[in-house]
């Protein structure tokens, strides 16, 4: 593996922390991160009439089933078309086989309106062109079902990048917004419905609208996009989706991410500014909510203040989360690892991090574990493979995957988010057996 190389971070600590740029540790060793297929676990809940068909191996099928927790659904809206020996040996034409599988699936599930063919490492290595397969299948199954393709493979995507790839596949199919249409706000990134509804209320109170969401809850509700669309990213891992939306004329509002009170206020403020909402009105709408959220946070701050936290790279939420726990919960940051540092989208977040933080990008898990042990953190945010081993070493952990399965954005969830970090420490304090 390539040795650690230390690069200079481009993010200037311009305001707030006002100090030298933080060096970023770049690593290219063993990654202990899921692949993009994992996104299916929450995406298939989000788009209620979509089915996700992974074209891959038994490994891919087993990954999704294991990451989802075995059998939550009687018959889930995802499955795997497992490539077998016959397909590889050319005894069967892979494309014909795929068409057959899709045909059978759609026959069995007439409720499906949108089908994603999800590429995997094996499908990519054998150069199975799923975009072409999708257009071929579209001709057969239109107009009942829309068939799209994206890659969730581990050689191309880590964990949350799967959502980016999925949403990016949706962008070209979004209707064009009428050039004369009034300015609209597009919130990009899968959110829990309860969070969407809260946001709609706040935007409504601010007089901002129309507000639309990508992904939509149903396949037929894809929002339109055009030069009058302004977008707010709700998730920090949507680089490709944002790029394609920009190509279609949408304009991205620079903003922090809506995690914690400050993040939410900053995020809303970006839209408020765009819509010319006056300061008085903005305060009237947000201040009571922010105040309520701060009160709810206080209880968790008691537990977390001054505690050292270490982030392993996982969801790309690490940087905004680090900003939240350091600024609003008073936690001390040690290393903040992330699979990929999207500097443009994280610009406002990076500014808010203390200069002492060690950012790292990529991974070499064994070396990172060494650093983690040396840092002696009170809490480690990491994936499921590392959690129990670290606990057994006496280090409290928080599984990062829960951050994707739980509504954590916005004012009303700020305390829930804090609670996720506080719970492991509370629990340790309660237990009298060791």
């Amino acid at each position: 593996m390539s040795p650690l190389d230390t690069a200079q971070n481009g993010a200037q600590g311009a305001n707030g922390c006002g100090s030298a740029p933080a060096p970023v540790l770049k690593e290219r060793g063993q990654r202990e991160v899921f692949c993009g297929l994992t996104g299916i676990i929450w995406l298939h809940r989000k788009i209620q009439d979509a089915f996700f068909l992974v074209v891959g191996s038994r490994t891919c099928a087993h990954l999704i089933q294991s990451a989802a927790g075995v059998m939550i659904f009687a018959e889930p809206r995802f499955g795997t078309a497992i490539i077998d020996e016959r397909d590889l040996a050319g005894l069967a034409d892979v494309n014909d086989e795929l068409d057959k599988v899709v045909g059978r699936l759609l026959e069995r599930r007439p409720d499906i309106k949108m089908l994603f063919l999800v590429g995997s490492c094996p499908s990519e290595v054998i150069k199975l062109d799923l975009s072409r397969a999708a257009s071929r299948l579209n001709r057969i199954h239109a107009p009942n079902v829309k068939i799209l393709a994206y890659s969730g493979s581990g050689i191309e995507t880590t964990f949350t990048q799967g959502e980016d790839a999925c949403l990016a596949a949706l962008v070209p199919t979004m209707p064009a917004e009428d050039a004369a249409a009034p300015k609209s706000l597009l919130v990009v990134g899968a959110l829990a419905e309860v969070v969407e509804d809260q946001m709609l209320r706040v935007f409504g109170d601010l007089g901002i609208g129309p507000v639309r969401f990508l992904p939509p809850r149903r396949a037929a509700e894809l929002p339109p996009v055009g030069p009058n669309t302004v977008m707010l990213l709700a998730q920090p891992f949507l680089g490709e989706t944002a790029r394609l939306l920009e190509e279609r004329g949408a304009r991205r509002l620079a903003a922090p991410f809506p995690l914690g009170v400050e993040g939410t206020t900053g995020w809303l403020a970006a839209a408020a500014k765009e819509w010319g909402v006056d300061a008085e009105r903005f305060r009237a709408v947000t201040a009571p909510r922010a105040e309520r959220a701060r009160k709810a946070l206080a209880r968790h701050r008691e537990v977390l203040e001054g505690k050292k936290i270490f982030f392993f790279p996982d969801s790309q939420l690490e940087v905004p989360l680090a900003r939240f726990v350091s600024r609003e919960l008073g936690m001390a940051l040690t290393e903040v690892g992330t699979p990929y540092l999207h500097r443009a989208h994280l610009a406002q977040e990076l500014e808010q991090l203390p200069a002492t933080v060690q950012l790292s990008e990529g991974q070499d898990v064994d070396r990172q574990l060494d650093r983690c042990r040396a840092a002696q953190p009170d809490l480690v945010v990491c994936g499921l493979g590392l959690a129990n081993p670290l606990e057994a070493e006496g280090i409290a952990t928080k599984w990062s995957i829960e951050l994707l399965f739980t509504p954590v954005q916005g004012y009303e969830q700020a305390a829930d988010l804090a609670e996720l970090f506080a719970r492991p420490l509370r629990r340790r304090a309660i237990l009298k057996v060791a």
Partner: protein, 543 residues
């Protein structure tokens, strides 16, 4: 290309991980993309292992393809050797690396490490987890014990006077269904028989232990899925006989004792005569009368399914109405066993096919894997888990073997628990005028969780509750709440008298009675359901 919703078995390299993770001093370097590291959580979360599996993944990416993936692999092997200082290593490819054909075995050999490095060829596109475990164990045994093999034709020297006979226990792995406790139970049993266990492998053994497998007099094969090929090789190479009986249930445990006694040349009369298990008396006691003829559907790996069928039939007095396995390697054995019960074996790894079979057979008890537990739950049928694939619940805190005499006790408890208790069943029957549909009644001690499904068994998509802890998520209850009056199929009406009669049936079985009656009416072209139709249906569906 096969459409798969849920898979019973992981890919074969996960089988290899089960071997490596069970062992000590062995390290596995796997050429694989990053997503494949998910497999670690199987061990750390489901089995709650306190250490990471001893596996290094190369986690190559697209940009590495066609470039230096081979170099990455060699670096990973070298780094892993230096960091973990294992006694031996195994190296291989996962499904993706298999396609890029880097030859992990050759690359590792070129490094000329001062330890044995065993290359694994595990074809991901045709084989599965159990096969992968067996192949890995066999290759490790052959590579590490092979150098100690006596010249062909050597006769095994007789055991010296005064030395206790000895054996190895073969087959237990990490993530195995109750392997942890089976080892303890069988070791104790063998000790009572005056037999020493030299090595338990793969679980708990180190490469140096594997090297001395040939020292024992014979081998006990606990899990043929994993150990059969290694045991067969040891027999050929070291002239060590191995056991064929898997000691699950009282009868099989007794047979096992007899088989072992013969192999070891010990007298087992005393142990066979001692009262060893509570199962025989519990089964004979009058309370158990209600177990008679309970219709049971059994599905799992071949070893556990076959054993469960024998226990169910001979020791519990159930009727085996279905028997099957997802493990094609041992399909023949399951087919043979199925003949004993006059049923046709179900050999499939298609979850939907198993579900359809259970729905068709409508058994009163399902003995299966976590998959069948889910099926049974949806169909409102009692269920106990007897085999992998496993779930966090299959690693109980308490001692809970399924082998040996204590294992038989555990089976009795676990299988009876989901069923209605004897007297309770009678009371239910009296209470509702001996109506025939009682078997859907849930046992009171299981609370509302065991209430029967009243509505139809169509797939029900239930939203995952927030905060699903991955992998350890408790299976979410997907059953509909029993609705008092499910929608009537087109074309059938109930007479007021029939409705009234139906109301005499306790509410928790009324749904099923209604459904069965309507099904009967539909099948027989009866448009108007009378009291007579109700009892016709009772007679039809009753046994």
């Amino acid at each position: 290309m096969q459409l798969t919703v849920w898979t019973y078995e992981a890919p074969p390299h996960v089988g290899a991980m089960r071997i490596a993770t069970g062992m000590k001093g062995l390290h596995y370097v796997l050429h694989a993309p990053q997503g494949d590291t998910y497999a670690d959580l199987l061990f750390t979360m489901i089995e709650r292992r306190s250490a990471r599996p001893p596996v290094t993944y190369t986690t190559f990416q697209a940009r590495d393809l066609g470039g230096d993936t081979a170099v990455m692999f060699k670096t990973a092997v070298q780094d892993a050797y230096e960091r973990f200082k294992p006694q031996a290593m195994i190296v291989g490819a996962s499904c993706t690396a298999e396609l890029i054909q880097d030859d992990p075995g050759g690359l590792a050999k070129a490094l000329d490490l001062p330890i044995p490095v065993v290359p694994l060829e595990l074809p991901s596109y045709s084989k599965k987890e159990n096969w992968g475990a067996a192949e890995t164990f066999f290759q490790i045994v052959r590579a590490l014990a092979g150098p100690y093999a006596p010249p062909p034709g050597t006769v095994r020297p007789a055991r010296p006077e005064g030395v206790r006979p000895s054996c190895n226990l073969l087959g237990p792995t990490a993530l195995g269904f109750r392997h942890r406790d089976d080892i303890v139970e069988i070791t104790r049993l063998l000790d009572r028989m005056g037999i020493d266990v030299k090595v338990v492998a793969p679980m708990g053994s180190s490469p140096s232990d594997i090297a001395r497998l040939g020292e024992a007099d014979f081998n006990v094969v606990l899990y043929p899925e994993v150990a059969h090929s290694a045991a067969a090789w040891l027999q050929r190479t070291f002239r060590q006989p191995f056991t064929r009986t898997v000691p699950i249930g009282v009868g099989a445990t007794r047979d096992f004792i007899a088989e072992v006694a013969e192999m070891a040349g010990v007298d087992a009369t005393a142990i066979l005569e001692a009262p060893n298990s509570r199962l025989p008396w519990y089964s004979a006691s009058v309370d158990s009368t209600y177990l008679t003829g309970k219709r049971v559907f059994i599905f799992g790996d071949a070893t556990h399914a076959i054993a469960a069928a024998r226990v169910a039939s001979e020791e519990m007095g159930f009727t085996v109405v279905g028997l099957g396995t997802y493990g094609r390697e041992f399909a023949r054995d399951v087919r043979e066993a199925a003949k004993l019960y006059g049923v046709e074996a179900l050999i499939t790894d298609d979850y939907l096919e198993v579900e359809a079979k259970v729905a068709e057979l409508q058994p009163e008890l399902v003995l299966g894997t976590q998959m069948e537990r889910h099926i049974a739950k949806r169909l409102g049928i009692a269920c106990a888990v007897i085999s992998a694939p496993v779930h966090v619940q299959d690693f109980p805190a308490r001692y809970s073997p399924v082998m040996g005499f204590e294992g038989a006790n555990v089976l009795f408890d676990t299988w009876v628990h989901p069923l209605v208790m004897g007297l309770e069943e009678h009371l239910l029957a009296m209470f509702r005028d001996d109506f025939e549909f009682q078997d859907a009644a849930g046992p009171s001690h299981l609370g509302h969780g065991a209430a029967p499904t009243a509505a139809k068994a169509a797939p029900i998509a239930v939203t995952v509750p927030e905060q699903v802890p991955a992998a350890t998520a408790k299976a979410v209850d997907t059953r509909p709440t029993a609705s008092a009056t499910p929608p009537q199929p087109e074309g059938t009406t109930w007479t007021p008298e029939a409705e009234k009669e139906l109301q005499k049936i306790p509410f928790f079985v009324r749904g099923k009675a209604r459904r069965n009656t309507e099904r009967f009416a539909a099948e027989h072209g009866v448009a108007l359901i009378t009291v007579e139709t109700l009892y016709d249906a009772k007679a039809h569906f009753g046994r």
